[in-house]
Amino acid sequence: AKDKDAAGSKQIEEVKVASWSQPITEQTNLLAGEEKSFYKENGIKVNFIPGAGGGDAIKNILTGAADIAFTDPGSLYFALDKGEKLRVIYNIYPQNVFNVVSLTEKNITKPEDLKGKKIGVYSHSSGTRQNLLLLLHQAGLSEKDVTIVETGLLNFAPLMQGQVDATAATDTGLETGKQKGLSDVNVIEVKDYLNIPSDVFVVTEKTYQEKKDLLISFLKGYQQSAQWMIDNPQEAASLAVKLAIDGKDVNSNLKIIDLRNSSSLSSDPKDKTLGALDPEVLQKGADIYQGLGLIENKLDMPQAVIQDLIPKK
């Protein structure tokens, strides 16, 4: 009843969030606007716009189909490189969730071991590929030292069948794979070599200028929701069954949510604020992208990062 009063007293505004994916379990906190009150309390209503890749999310804010993009830094770099005026306003997952997985018998434990190997990625436009390149770069290798093949979303299948030596994946992907019978694997975590964030909220300069209050309200709501998911993984896992298209099984939902919860927390012991942005890391990432030839221009990340919208505790 209290919620209703709060909602009724204020004008409820709609925020359209363009995601890189369908509504999936790991985003339960974003999807739970009807069931929970984080957003309502802040006078907003989240409208989830699905996409197929981080690029879609950015394009959807560029066309005005959405206000906020839930996207990866890679897509952000590409768009900034093309001259788009974008602002990063929130660090959704400060931890890099990407990894490279191989069967133990292949004895691949560090990036250097990947030399000459055949490595699977989801697709040439996916984060698995970009992060694999980052990892190789950190080890002084390049794309030419390995063979990269596209394996589609079921990327562990060819790994198990022996068609690839290793496959680039994400933490949740690996978890799902393990549930499907993948075992005895070595995992190289990209975050151990370069811990750029996995996802950030991005808005256009125009939205930033014109809808600042709305963004602040949204980020408040999102921060609360993220905290809620950290505190109540079990509840989130059961809600996901209804809200997420892939949330069929509560137990796997829980595992996924646990993983996402831990990637939502910054590794910086000083700053425990959810969503805190580190322009340095983003700058480093951008510079490596440039070094890899993925983008042409030198980006000025500190200029693109807006830190003062993030709600402080």
């Binding site: 369908q22 699905p50 197929a52 879609d56 959807n60 066309t63 079921l154 562990f156 299948a157 794979g177």
Partner: protein, 251 residues
């Protein structure tokens, strides 16, 4: 009749056994065994989990098919009748087909929203071409003697079209329709790939994310069944409503 059904069952059985044999030594991730798939299918159907997705996809197919086929038929007739239009429009028709719809996702979302409309548009775009091409061809190969007859009867172009060219071309037009109907299924699914949160296409993407291949195969079976029902539906229409039109033609 009986015999066909018997062999049909036999073939199905053989296929299932073959599938089982291939799937046996393979990881479920790559190719799940038939039993796993059918359990998934059964569970999904009985629990009602598939229902909203099926309804969504069917709605998209029906809408997309209606729009696409109406457009395809009308354009086919116009391009068949008017040489000028055919030459003028054909590059754009080809463009609409040769361009992979997946590549234009953001534009579709921009113009038609991320709701059902964009999926319906994609379905319509995909299924309008076979009907267009077949209608166009059928219209052009009308028996010249019959055209003479209509000319002498002082029939207008429209009358000749409605009373001669279209009924005479009906078998070919229906062949195009059958192709369209099956493509419409793919169209709706591809539309849902673009960024749908409901529908069987979205479910395929989700199942891939979950690495739930039995689920994915269950959805593929649902899609196949849909395609078959639609195809049989066209045959039924052909058999029932167009009986008189089809009478006096062989087979």
């Amino acid at each position: 009749m009986k015999k066909v059904e018997y062999y049909s069952m036999l073939l199905l059985l053989l296929m299932l056994i073959g599938w089982e044999l291939i799937a046996g030594p393979m990881s479920e991730l790559v190719l799940p065994a038939p039993a796993a798939v059918f359990i998934e299918l059964w569970n999904g159907l009985s629990s009602g989990y598939f229902l909203p997705h099926i309804l969504r996809t069917i709605t998209e197919i029906v809408l997309g098919l209606s729009i696409g086929c109406t457009m395809g038929f009308i354009l086919g007739v116009l391009m068949g009748e008017i040489d000028f239009l055919r030459k003028l429009l054909f590059p754009y028709v080809i463009a609409s087909q040769a361009v992979p719809k997946l590549a234009l996702a953001p534009l579709f979302i921009l113009w038609f929203g991320f709701g059902m409309t964009s999926k319906v548009v994609i379905t319509a775009l995909i299924c309008f071409f076979p009907l267009l091409e077949n209608t166009l061809t059928a219209i052009q190969y009308t028996d010249p003697n019959k055209k003479d007859l209509f000319y002498i009867l002082g029939a207008t172009r429209l009358q000749t079209l409605i009373h001669l060219k279209i009924p005479a071309g009906l078998p070919a037009i229906l062949a195009g329709f059958r192709v369209s109907v099956v493509l419409a299924v793919v169209g709706a699914v591809v539309g849902e790939f673009i960024g749908g949160s409901e529908g069987l296409g979205a479910l395929i993407i989700a199942s891939q994310g979950m690495m739930d291949t039995p689920l994915m195969f269950a959805v593929l079976i649902l899609l196949t069944l849909m395609g078959m029902l639609l195809y049989l539906g066209v045959n039924l229409i052909e058999g029932l409503f167009l009986k008189t039109y089809m009478k006096g033609r062989n087979k």
